[in-house]
């Protein structure tokens, strides 16, 4: 029977069929971070259980650690030091791979997982973090779990899961200059809502996806959770193999050919059918910006802020009204031109070298507008190093950006640093929820190039009006 890539990976990991669509699934890789992984490790300790295969489990410090230069275990987050130290102790005791502070490989879990060759095509990978789906960019079946499920995965190397429905989202056509993978995924969520993907595992397909670089595919898959989906992936291809080869935890050279042959089989069969299909024509996509407090509250940069009165569905209308009130915006205002107080480039969505490089192209030889606070946080120590070798840090700091140590930083607020009450931030992150970046902070999601361009102008702006020659497609 013809199968989708999702079904192929599922079958290759099914240990037992538990009936009614539920299976005991083998988990290849488990990633933890100090925010939620700490509780999982402590829970295991408390119940006297061991990690089953510690060599195949990984842990990083990303959520709570400070990102200011010269940082140590002290953090601005209340109680944060205890999270860092408990995690370190428990990870060392359990014998799992730890990317600790001071280790150049440290960084955001979903950035270092591909970088280190931990996420691979066709693996099942879980992490107690909702953006784990990012790794689908390499063709991994990866999804976020809770801390109790993480304990289960660590202790048994398995999870009990209900088989997801399948969806194919096909992106056809050419991306215009200035349009990125971030704009593609925002468009999908804007058109099909933040609940449009609930219960589905998604394959992203189409000629526009084949043309995306691996880092852009990671960005695309990062926000499948914002679409409500369980997971999302891109089938591995030559670009994927080239990206993976030689990475520290990738298959060794003597296993390489066997691995590639296996990965090549992970393609959706031509006759296979999905439970749902969506097609998007990329030529219709312009740079996108969010205006509200859900990622589905987003529009093209050339549009006006929508009027809730035009929305027939009462639930959606109320949420729009509330969002506009929170964001301090009026219906009908042009998106292009909304003044900003701050700009943030970072997070597991957009903090890889290609993101920083693209933003640097905009910033080169320019200065950010007066009164704008701008921060760049590379996704990992190795991203930071690579960027510095290219002189990207210098471009950022010359333009007026702060250049930080790697971590999640101000992608979310946990009592530490924030942008401040009612400050308006244009941000390359993935969540514009109420209070996400600080109490009453107003977040506008956009691509790193739109963030850079807006920082220069001092208001949300159309990046296509600034010189730019590259897209995410190569």
């Amino acid at each position: 029977m013809p199968q989708t890539i999702i079904e192929k990976i599922w079958d290759d990991h099914q240990i037992t069929d538990l009936g009614d669509g539920t299976s005991l699934i083998y988990i290849d890789r488990i990633f933890l971070h100090e925010r939620t992984g700490s509780v999982a490790l402590k829970g295991l300790e408390a119940s006297n259980r061991d990690v089953r295969d510690p060599e195949q489990a990984f842990c990083t410090m990303d959520h709570i650690v400070d990102t200011t230069p010269g940082r140590d275990d002290n953090t601005r987050m209340p109680g944060g030091t205890a999270f860092i130290q408990t995690t370190r102790k428990a990870a060392l005791a359990a014998g799992i791979n730890l990317f600790d502070l001071g280790d150049q490989r440290q960084g955001i879990a979903h950035v270092i997982s591909p970088e280190q060759g931990i996420a691979l095509p066709g693996v099942t990978l879980v992490c107690p973090d909702s953006h784990t789906g990012t790794l689908g960019g390499l063709g991994a079946l990866a999804w976020g779990i809770g801390s109790t499920e993480a304990e289960h995965a660590l202790a048994t190397k398995t999870l009990v899961i209900k088989k997801p429905k399948t969806m194919r989202v096909t992106f056809n056509g050419e991306l215009s200059t200035g349009v990125t993978a971030k704009d593609m995924i925002l468009t999908l969520i804007g058109r099909h809502t933040a609940a449009g993907g609930i219960g589905y595992a998604i394959e992203f397909a189409g000629n526009a996806i084949s043309k995306l670089s691996i880092e852009a595919r990671l960005t695309l898959c990062n926000m499948t959770i914002e679409f409500g989906a369980w997971s999302g992936l891109v089938a591995p291809d030559e670009k994927t193999f080239e990206y993976v080869r030689g990475r520290p935890f990738a298959p060794a050279e003597d296993q390489w050919d066997q691995a590639v042959t296996y990965w090549q089989s992970l393609q959706t069969d031509p006759e296979a059918s999905f439970d749902k299909e969506i097609t998007i024509d990329c030529s219709e996509i312009v740079p996108q910006v969010s205006w509200g407090t859900s990622p589905m509250h987003e529009i093209g940069i050339d549009r006006h802020i929508p009027n809730p009165a035009d929305e027939p569905n009462e639930n959606i209308r109320t949420s729009m009204e509330r969002a506009l009130d929170y964001m301090g915006l009026e219906p009908g205002t042009p998106m292009d031109g909304v003044p900003i107080d701050a700009a943030f480039i970072g997070s597991c969505t957009n903090s890889r070298v290609s993101d920083l490089r693209a933003a640097a192209e905009i910033l080169k030889g320019r200065k950010i507008a007066d009164g704008v606070k701008a921060i760049c946080v590379p996704g990992s120590g190795l991203v930071k190093k690579a960027a510095e070798e290219e002189g990207i840090d210098k471009i950022f700091t010359d333009a007026g950006f702060e250049w930080r140590e790697s971590g999640c930083s101000m992608c979310f607020y946990a009592g530490g640093e924030s942008f401040g009450l009612e400050e308006r931030v244009i941000s390359s992150t993935n969540r514009n929820f109420e209070n996400r970046q600080g109490p009453r902070t107003r977040t506008h999601l956009a691509s790193p190039t739109t963030v850079a361009a807006s920082a220069i102008k001092g208001h949300i702006t159309d990046v296509r009006n600034i010189n730019i020659s590259k897209t995410d497609q190569d």
Binding site: V39, Q56, S130, G146, S147
Partner: protein, 206 residues
């Protein structure tokens, strides 16, 4: 884990779509490496007058009688979306919520509920809205009954609605079982899988 069989209780309607886990418990309220002591932080951005403060906002439903005694929440689509933080469920369980009825849940949140003795019930939006209206008219007396044995919800008017739940989830909740112990009954199958898989995908076994 506390068993869940039948529950009859006061239901609080918070009818908004996309209530995310940052709203259920803001990150700054997760102060210790622990599953306990989180209920004070539940819905804190809505429940208190100031971010980080503890002065109650009288307009928020869970600060009003009799909803302070609610054991059931009614809400709209995509409840518990966003961050995977299980703290959202730990906080709600500690506060006293035992069942949540909505047209849809965030996936991770749904799994977290089942693992912590909270029953997530999916019903059609129209039914949830009807239940919410019925409850609001007299919350003290218009109780809702949830029965996990026969997978039904009974409204204050006696109308009965059935819902679906995966058998594994139902068993875990009914018996109050620990998932790891259940899976370890299949240890033999797990080892056999690994032996076979090692030949097919040796690079996985680092």
């Amino acid at each position: 884990m506390e068993k869940f069989t039948v529950l009859e209780g006061i239901a609080a309607p918070i009818m908004r779509i996309n209530i995310d886990t940052d709203v259920i418990i803001p990150s700054r309220e997760m102060k210790r490496v622990s599953k306990e002591g989180l209920s004070d932080g539940m819905f804190s951005n809505w429940r208190y007058t100031e971010p980080g403060g503890r002065e109650e906002n009288p307009d928020f439903i869970l600060n009003q009688e009799p909803y302070r005694q609610a054991s059931i929440l009614l809400s709209s689509d995509n409840f518990g979306c966003g961050s995977s933080r299980e703290h959202a469920v730990w906080a709600m369980a500690e506060w006293g919520i035992r069942a949540i009825i909505t047209p849809g849940f965030g996936n991770i949140f749904y799994g977290n509920c089942v693992r912590n003795g909270i029953l997530p019930v999916i019903l059609d939006n129209k039914i949830v809205e009807k239940l919410a209206k019925q409850v609001e008219s007299d919350p003290d007396n218009n109780l809702i009954k949830v029965n996990l044995k026969n997978c039904s919800v009974t409204g204050p008017d006696g109308n009965k609605y059935s819902f679906k739940i995966a058998p594994a989830d139902q068993e875990m909740l009914l018996e109050g079982l620990d998932g790891i112990a259940i899976t370890m009954r299949q240890d033999h199958e797990i080892m056999a899988f690994q032996e076979r898989d090692k030949l097919k995908r040796p690079w996985i076994y680092i």
